[in-house]
Amino acid sequence: MNAIPGRSPWLLAGLLVLAGLALVALGLAVGSTGWHWPWSADAPDTGQAAILWEIRLPRSLGAWLAGALLGLAGAVAQGLFRNPLADPYLLGSASGASLGVAVLLAATGLPSAATDWLPQLGITGAAFAGALGGVLLTLALARGVQQTLRLLLAGVIVGVVLGALSSLLLLRLPEVMRTLQGFMLGSTGFLGWSAVQVLALSLVPALVVALALARALDALALGEATALSLGVPLGPARGLLVAVMALATGAAVAQVGLVAFVGLVAPHLVRLAARPTHRALLPLSALAGGALLLAADVASRWVLAPQELPVGVLTAVLGGGYLLWLMHRRPL
């Protein structure tokens, strides 16, 4: 960590935590009736407490946690592949998740008893299984994590092929199209307390493991040969980092669908505001991702209340817009 005032990671962390808290408060105030402070006199009264506790609070927390997972996975992806354009969906997790959901939706329509257990799995389970499956397929295709370029290429191939399979399925069964499209645009609409638990239980270990490997990520930035010479166990480190990416992305995607841009943009927002090593970058990216997705979620509920905009559209607008502004103010 460096000690320059104004560029301190601690300052940024404080700002992001405050932003997160403010957004959660806003999330409590925004709902299908627009914006009302929960305790003000003119707030609509019907079941207000239940709505706050059962709907708005878990939704806001869940959105923040999902964003944090995506931000963390994005920072890991960019460090692992040493590419500022890397995002957590690189290893086939996104297309795997949408294929999983498509298969589930298709099978739910079929009356056969063989697929009776599938509805129990739910969209959440199917998306998670699909995401992990996509990553495993990529690893198999790349024959392990030894070569980064090979891993990237395998991820792209798996992404394209699985995406094509999803499209084929959609062609045969267009009635699932709307639901699948909703999944692919991202949706925070049904995040309840169980979702919050799952997300929180995924974030903590992912963060801990990633932090343990923060040095490895820093050393990797100097090149693989240098990292090896510094005693970084490249093979196990890469394997663990891929696992963190897969689990974090899978958990987030399972709950909120394929939200675009958060994983890509959150680390960049942090880097433009401070110049941290990964030890700070990883948790800061999580904080930034959480704030971004929560802000998008609040906006999606607010702009057209009681209708909702797809949250993925808003993450792109908010994240991209802020990034543009930052780029304009500072040289990259």
């Binding site: 709902g31 709907i55 709307r178 609409g189 309840g192």
Partner: protein
């Protein structure tokens, strides 16, 4: 008539020929007047004779054509047309997005029925086919479409079909007991959630059944809602075609909804969904399906 004078003979022959032609014209089999229909795009489609080879690219139009008694004139339908059973054996030529132009042309139709949003309409017209782009989205649309198809196909059964529909609509209110009338209803079309508002076809049917749709028409026919809205509106009956009745009860905060508490959630199968959502001649059946759901004391278990 003096003979030998050429001019006068010419006049006579000309007069005879004209008379002959006039008589012939009268004797030809009664031609229908040239049928001109303005479709939803504002284009005028001209039909010199009633079409005998029809390709339909929209399931609701397929059903309407068959209800008008012209089912035997269909030579091709889209992938999703599945009623009545006889159309299942017809050649399928693709969907809304990807109608196979070559297959359609190979069927040599003299009329193609399509939705306004079908992508291949321009292509088919460029290849010389007659395309009527009409899409029923509301009850008023359906009335117009029935009239247009009846005119285009010259079936003469349009009035009877319309009368049957009107009768079903008129009898709708009686399908539901007075106690169940006025119930607050929420109709979900797909998970997200997308709901059917008062402005949609299904919403109109629900209104005829005396139900109160919690989703107002001001939001458009199929708005994507904030789930909180549904919780606040507290519908007494939930109808869904998204097949997710199991999951509806599990949504955060939805346990408090009257419909969920009292197990009045009806999930329709895809076949039933077809009946409900397609604006077509089966709306009587659709009304009965929904009335069953509304009227039942327990309704269907989620």
């Amino acid at each position: 008539m003096a003979d030998g004078h050429p001019l006068r003979r010419g006049w006579a022959i000309g007069f005879l020929i004209a008379l002959l032609l006039l008589l012939l014209g009268q004797a030809l089999p009664a031609q229908a007047e040239l049928v001109r229909i303005v479709d939803d795009r504002g284009r005028t489609v001209t039909l010199p004779v009633p079409p005998r080879r029809i390709v339909s690219l929209l399931p609701s139009l397929t059903e309407t054509v068959c209800a008008l008694g012209a089912c035997d004139r269909l030579v091709g339908v889209d992938n999703y047309s599945n009623w009545p059973d006889r159309v299942k054996s017809l050649p399928h030529v693709g969907g809304l997005e990807d109608a196979q132009v070559e297959t359609v042309v190979a069927l040599r139709p003299d009329l193609v029925l399509a939705a306004t949003s079908t992508r291949s309409v321009a292509r088919l017209e460029a290849l010389g086919l007659r395309v009527l782009a009409i899409e029923p989205r509301t009850l008023a649309d359906l009335r117009r479409v029935i009239a247009q198809l009846d005119q285009a196909l010259a079936t003469g059964q349009g009035a009877a079909l319309q009368a049957g529909i009107d009768q079903a609509l008129a009898g709708a209110a009686s399908l539901v007991s007075p106690a169940a009338r006025g119930r607050r209803v929420y109709f979900e079309v797909s998970e997200a959630p997308y709901a059917a508002s008062e402005a949609s076809f299904v919403g109109e049917l629900l209104a005829r059944l005396g139900a109160t749709n919690v989703v107002p028409a001001s939001l458009g026919p199929f708005p994507k809602l904030n789930p909180e809205f549904v919780v606040r509106a507290d519908p007494q009956v939930i109808l869904t075609t998204s097949g997710s009745a199991v999951r509806i009860a599990e949504r955060p905060g939805w346990r408090a909804i009257s419909a969920v508490r009292e197990s009045r959630v009806c999930a329709f199968t895809p076949a039933q969904a077809d009946v409900l959502v397609r604006p077509g001649p089966r709306l009587g059946e659709g009304l009965r399906l929904m009335a069953d759901c509304l009227a039942g004391p327990i309704g269907r278990a989620p």
